[in-house]
């Protein structure tokens, strides 16, 4: 057991750090605006040109076959450099692992490279108004037609969908089926779908509702076998909760900014104590993730234990931002366009964003039940 980076890992870190120092832009406009979305797409293309947009992918799809530890190093450097949020996150982290595992060779070639270059930006379409966290109760349906399927129904809480190019989600393809059975995993261009943006707490349309009125999807855009969508989607949502969605680098950067803020302010010791705890928890999350990465690299299945990470990081993220807002007093709640806002209102934006963490990708209540039943073995 060690925590010493190899010469190769150190070299990779140096390369990433140098490149980012030279290329990270000033703060981009919000990716929930049309201009901001395109600015973020441009940034992802720049990353892709340096083969830094998907470092852990195979070279033929635009990556550099980096190890999990190298990916974690990339993330540490990326967020420490203050680089922009990843507008292509849903595709890269939620869909791509599923395509790698279940996609045809043609699907791999058709979608991954363009995803890595942000030519296509993907939005997830899991939830439905009545389903929420209870994915198995989906009602949107797919009707078999010649050469493909027609999709009907409504999806909601689709992040990025307002400006994205493609979507992915589950539809009930067997009308006789209930619950987990008879669902199929579809990939569809959003230009064929009616998209209605939903304003978030901060007023920007981070989410959207999607309306399907007989959208045609050819067979080659079905992922895996028809009817097998639940199993495939579970693999995806497990990676949503697991290692790939929230790398420690992001929280380390936030914790560093919080500590800098606290050092520059007269901080009440009781608040300082909470900040210290959050810093310590960030360190714990980093170390824990190194351990998980090692287990994955040795071929272990992490499975339901990933729910522990989800609960931990989502509640840590809320605390980190809430503490900064407390530190700033009345100024903490100012928006980016207020003259007195600290750091362009990033703390408030981050706070509002963090509040979704304990809710999405399976609420933390559901995660705790998963931990109790599937990790600890308590009865249902």
């Amino acid at each position: 057991m060690d925590l010493d980076f190899t010469p190769q890992e150190r070299a990779f870190r140096a390369e990433v750090r140098d490149w980012l120092a030279a290329h990270v832009p000033e703060r981009l406009p919000s990716m929930d605006t049309r201009d901001g979305f395109e600015a973020h797409r441009e940034w992802e293309r720049l990353l892709a040109d340096a083969r830094l947009s998907v470092v852990s992918w195979p070279e033929r799809h635009g990556g550099r076959c980096a190890s999990l530890v190298e990916w974690l190093i990339f993330e540490e450097e990326y967020w420490a450099a203050g680089a922009p949020g990843r507008v292509s996150q849903n595709g890269i982290f939620l869909l791509a692992p599923t395509i790698f595992s279940y996609g045809t060779a043609e699907q791999n070639d058709r979608f991954l490279r363009r995803m890595a270059r942000a030519d296509d930006i993907w939005a997830q379409a899991w939830s439905e108004p009545e389903a929420g966290s209870d994915l198995a109760s989906l009602r949107s349906r797919a009707e078999r037609v010649a050469g493909g399927w027609r999709l009907y129904g409504q999806k909601t809480w689709s992040s990025r969908a307002t400006y994205a190019d493609w979507g992915f989600g589950l539809f009930r393809s067997d009308p006789e089926s209930t619950r987990h059975r008879g669902l199929t995993y579809f990939l569809f261009p959003l230009r064929d779908v009616t998209v209605r943006p939903i304003a978030q707490l901060d007023g920007e349309p981070g989410f959207a509702e999607l309306f399907f009125d007989g959208v045609f999807v050819p067979d080659c855009q079905v992922l895996g076998a028809p009817g097998d969508g639940w199993r495939i989607a579970m693999a995806t949502t497990s990676s949503e909760r697991g290692l790939t969605l929230r790398s420690p680098g992001r929280f380390m950067a936030t914790a560093d900014r919080l500590v800098r803020l606290a050092r520059s302010t007269a901080t009440d010791p009781a608040l300082a104590d909470e900040i210290t705890r959050a810093w310590m928890d960030t360190e714990a999350y980093r170390l824990h993730t190194f351990g998980v990465a090692r287990r994955i690299a040795s071929g272990e299945e992490i499975g339901p234990a990933s729910s522990m990470g989800k609960v931990f990081w989502s509640e840590l993220d809320v605390r980190l931002h809430a503490l900064a807002i407390q530190l700033l007093g009345e100024r903490g709640l100012l928006a980016g366009d207020a003259p007195d806002a600290e750091d362009g209102g990033r703390w408030l934006d981050g706070f509002l964003f963090s509040l979704a963490g304990p809710i999405y990708a399976g609420t933390n209540e559901i995660q705790r039940t998963i931990i109790a039943e599937r990790v600890l073995g308590l009865p249902r």
Partner: protein, 360 residues
């Protein structure tokens, strides 16, 4: 000793609640977060004026009801429950103790004078663009300035309804003989004003928390997941029970603080402000005030967090009115000293440790 509201006190709150139910529905609060015209940003204000709401704390000789803060505290709680827009606390709770002028008091009692304040360590004046008069603490003195004679800079924040403003003296039109117009000096202590504002806002936070709890309970009864109402799951039940407990035990601290503020009176000196340094020795009244604000802020913040968790993703959006109540909780929890500031004041008072935060 009767620590329970009298029939008169309950009747006043009930009247306010009815007026707000009729004239300040959620749609009106939402509109106040958007619209520019003052009339649309002040729903229910004319109706509240009719029932004498703005004169509650104005002495009877000036056409007010001559009540104490404790008599009116439930009425302020109701304005929180309804998330009533506008400088409610500043006008109805704080101004009566600041203004000595007969005419101003009469106008205030009649609901014809809106007031915003910037007291103590507060950086911004809330709803200042809706105020006719601003009372600003400056170098330890209180000054009343007409709204037109100061420069207001909007500081957009999380709450679209309760807007904050920086106040700078001396608008170009109001320079008097080459010196900025600093308004009239008020010969009253800022301490009573700050205590009053803090306790009234604490009452609003209790009201906000009660509304959030009720709304979350209703949602949990109707929303179904995994084949049952989510309110039938123990995890949801226990979170809501904890909110109920937090609110139930914060409220008495607020009511007791209102009694303490009334007892201390408007003319009493500060609990022990030490002008030599930042350390404040806090007397019994300020201890009650700080306990009230700390507990109410914490209860409301918890109610907001649980409301969001119970509502799930829909609570996170602007689709529901929930958002307006959440923003108001955050905004008021931070106003007039947040929980941390007030607990640190309490710490100084109880344990005698030096207090890093200056308040008032």
């Amino acid at each position: 000793m009767k620590f329970a509201f009298t029939d008169d006190q309950l009747a006043l709150a009930s009247t306010v609640r009815q007026v707000l139910a009729a004239h300040c529905p959620a749609a009106a609060v939402r509109q106040a977060g958007k619209a520019a015209p003052a009339a649309e940003r002040l729903p229910a204000w004319p109706q509240l004026a009719e029932i004498g709401f703005f004169g509650m704390l104005v002495p009877e000789p000036h056409d007010g009801l001559g009540l104490g803060l404790a008599d009116a505290i439930l009425a302020f709680e109701e304005t929180g429950r309804a998330a009533l827009p506008g400088p409610v606390v500043e006008t109805a709770a704080v101004a009566p103790g600041l203004l000595g002028d007969d005419d101003l008091l009469v106008r205030l009692a009649e609901g014809r004078l809106r007031v915003s304040v910037r007291l103590g360590d507060q950086v911004y004046a809330p709803d200042a663009d809706l105020a006719d008069l601003l009372v600003v603490e400056r170098h330890g003195e209180l000054r009343a300035v007409p709204a037109g004679s100061v420069r207001l800079t909007p500081q957009a924040g999380v709450d679209p309804v309760r807007r904050l403003f920086s106040v700078a003296f001396g608008s170009p039109e109001a320079v008097d003989g080459g010196k900025p117009q600093l308004g009239r000096r008020l010969d009253v202590s800022a301490v009573h004003a700050l205590r009053t504002a803090t306790v009234a806002v604490a009452a609003q936070l209790v009201g906000l928390a009660r509304h959030l709890l009720e709304t979350s309970v209703e949602y949990a009864k109707s929303r179904r997941q995994f084949g049952a109402p989510i309110g039938s799951f123990q995890a949801v039940k226990h979170q809501l029970a904890d909110v109920a407990i937090a609110v139930d035990f914060a409220a008495p601290l607020v009511y007791a603080a209102a009694l303490a503020v009334d007892r201390a009176g408007r003319t009493a000196p500060a609990g022990g402000v030490d002008s030599a340094g930042p350390t404040v020795a806090v007397g019994e009244v300020d201890r009650a005030v700080s306990a009230a604000k700390a507990a109410a802020g914490e209860a409301a913040t918890r109610a907001a967090r649980v409301a969001l968790q119970v509502h799930g993703a829909i609570g996170y959006t602007g689709e529901l009115d929930l958002r307006l109540w959440l923003a108001r909780v955050w905004s008021l929890a931070s106003a007039y000293g947040d929980t941390g500031v007030h607990r640190s004041r309490l710490r100084a008072a109880i344990l005698g440790t030096p207090d890093l935060t200056r308040w008032p």
